[in-house]
Amino acid sequence: MRKLKIVLPVAAATGSLVVWPAYAHGFGERTELPIPLGYFLIGAGLAVALSFVFISILVRVKAEGSYWRFNLIGSSWAKATLTSPISLLPIKLLSVFLLGLVIAAGLGGESNPLLNFGPTFIWIVWWVGMAIGVALVGNIWALINPWKILFGWAEGLYRLIRPGRELSLGREYPAKCGIWPALVLFALYTWIQDSYPKSDVPVQIAMMAIIYSATTLGGMFIFGKHQWLKKGEAFSVVFGLLSRFSVTEVRVTDHDACQACSSECLDLDRQCVDCYECFERTKVREINLRPFAIGLGRNETVTTDILALVVLMLATVTFDGFSATSAWTEFQTFMVDLFGSGSSEILNSLVLADTLGVLLVPVAFFLVYLFFSKLMASSVDGQISALEMARIFGYSLIPIALAYNIAHFITLLVIQGQLIIPLASDPFGSGWDLFGTVDYSLNISIINARILWFLSVALIVLGHVLAVYLAHRVAIRTFADRALVLRSQYPMLALMVMYTVISLWIIAQPIVQ
């Protein structure tokens, strides 16, 4: 508890930090118990054992591009319900309304984060909930993205007024920029979440929503709706990446539609999957159920910008947990000793330490990954460069991060997330009771620690197994020779075991409060 004694006076000196000192994620109070040593050891042991079991089974598995699918809009009535504009309209209206509500509540509502709709909705329900939902169920963000909806409405209106003309300027998006704009915006968002001390202040959230809305609508106006959604809208890109893990996909089987697509949507197997531009354009389309994680193992070219985003996402998820451990508090204390506490609420040593974390953890993550890619490259006698190795295997690390992410956030989501029930009745904190739920008190025993521990370890081990499987699929596709497949996988396996054990270690650490 020595750390606490040091950090608390520092936090006290920096004003508003007192409420949540040394705690990283944007908003909310964490209450989970660290998993006991036994669970940690069982999880780590299982990860190692299953890796070797799998590798000896998988080496006999054939590389196959296709996988099991079931078309949800195969029948006409299902098609009518799931894709008709009328059935989707209420959802779209609600989404746009919620964006407006966050802004309005932030600007005109109560300034206490707990009594305002914005912080709980944005940081817990939307960010944590949507990330998990998208990763498991499918890319609902593509349907409910309020900026996409707003711009779509504006486009429709413009076409009515001036038939034959487009609202967007339709400027050619510079190909060399790739998804870097989305990556930069996401990095900024990550910094706000993990370092910015006022990330829970309703009015700040409203301002950020306004600025981001302007950026996104502007981007769509200049480059066209789909271009910007694919390259510059951070959440479309990030949720799109996460939804590759999910059990649903959209698929376009009419390749004429893909000819007109603004991006190279066909993968190396000539499939058009999860391209919402083509999906909007054609009627020859499917919404498929598919096995979990398979969307991360498709045969496609992974460019460096996408790899960078994958690494940033993996690092961010890990850092969000790591920054709540006492090891990180030691580092913060070290920074405070080095530079003094600083007087400003934003420019102080705690923020500096967290900013360094947000910047350096992804870099360190990338270097470690590159080192293991180098090992893989040399194990296959340099047939493929280290960077290329890093690119083709990048997606296969996602299941571990995702499993850890769920283990890390599930308590916050199911306990603090309940705050949205009373807040829905009184979003501005002005004494309303719209749905009669304002007196709802949180059910804090909804999830028992023992069940949570078991679930967390099971999820992380399962994520690990899926990661090993995905990497193996990629290896079989890439190397003709079985011996090369095996040799390339040993460094990858070592990296994955390490990553899994670190993830387990973090949830075995008591959260510093």
């Binding site: 409420v19 209450t31 949180l442």
Partner: protein, 249 residues
């Protein structure tokens, strides 16, 4: 080194079973009543972390050198602790986890105003001791409460709450029975005249209490009705002094 698949499946099942048994087979015991002495001196709580097991009926016996508000976060129970006087702080540790404990030292004079000035303030009108299952609490509505609405709740389980609408004129007096069950409060809303005697009976399976006023805010922070307290000045004074750790049984 090719291994047959059935063997692998067997190994996998065996390992998984060991994991499950390891996770579930920990010895369990019955919840206990426990008293913990807690001292708060110059903003330092002793012990720093209060460790109990799920289901325990805990009484913290708190003594502080400076009066203030003791707040157990997420459980969201608050109590005013007078200086130099041992105060009981009762709760049932039904949720597992690690919970923040904060202390907000307060000048007792200003605190008195905030606490007793309004009718719906916390404990401003009546406040029971802990009511064990099967027992009751009785309160008679005074004349000066005519025309008022008095919210009440169980401080130990704030989901159990309701309100009393007191009529303006004294009419039929008598008695009203209110029942606490595991599902809720029956009746939820009580219409009564001044002079009526209200009896709360705890027919739930856990200890309860009755206190007038609204329950304190949802997860942490202050009373809704006391928004003026959320000024920057006060907010900075609530300082974390320790943790409650509730391990699963």
């Amino acid at each position: 080194m090719y291994i047959k698949k059935p063997n692998l499946a067997a190994i996998f099942v065996a390992v998984a079973l060991i994991a499950i048994i390891g996770a579930v087979a920990c010895s369990s015991s019955d919840p206990e009543r426990i008293d913990v002495s807690v001292s708060i001196n110059s903003g330092v709580m002793e012990p720093k972390t209060i460790k109990v097991k799920q289901g325990d009926m805990v009484t913290l016996k708190i003594s502080a050198d400076e009066g203030g508000e003791f707040h157990l976060h997420t459980y969201d129970i608050e109590a005013n602790i007078p200086a130099d006087e041992e105060t009981d702080f009762y709760f049932v540790a039904d949720a597992t986890g690690r919970f923040k404990i904060t202390y907000h030292p307060m000048d007792e004079n200003t605190h008195g105003e905030a606490s007793h000035g309004e009718d719906d303030s916390h404990g401003g009108i009546f406040e029971s001791e802990v009511i064990p299952p099967g027992e009751s609490f009785i309160f008679e509505i005074h004349k000066h409460l005519a025309g008022k609405t008095i919210p009440f709740h169980s401080h130990l389980h704030p989901a159990l709450n309701g309100s009393i609408n007191v009529a303006h004129k004294s009419g039929q007096t008598g008695s009203v029975a209110v029942e606490y069950t595991d599902e809720g409060v029956e009746p939820h809303e009580i219409n009564a005249s001044p002079g009526t005697v209200i009896t709360w009976t705890n027919n739930s399976s856990v200890p309860q209490s009755v206190i007038s006023g609204h329950h304190a805010d949802m997860a942490m922070g202050e009373h809704k009705t006391d928004k003026h307290k959320m000024g920057e000045h006060d907010e900075g004074e609530e300082v974390q002094i320790g943790l409650l750790e509730v391990q699963p049984r």
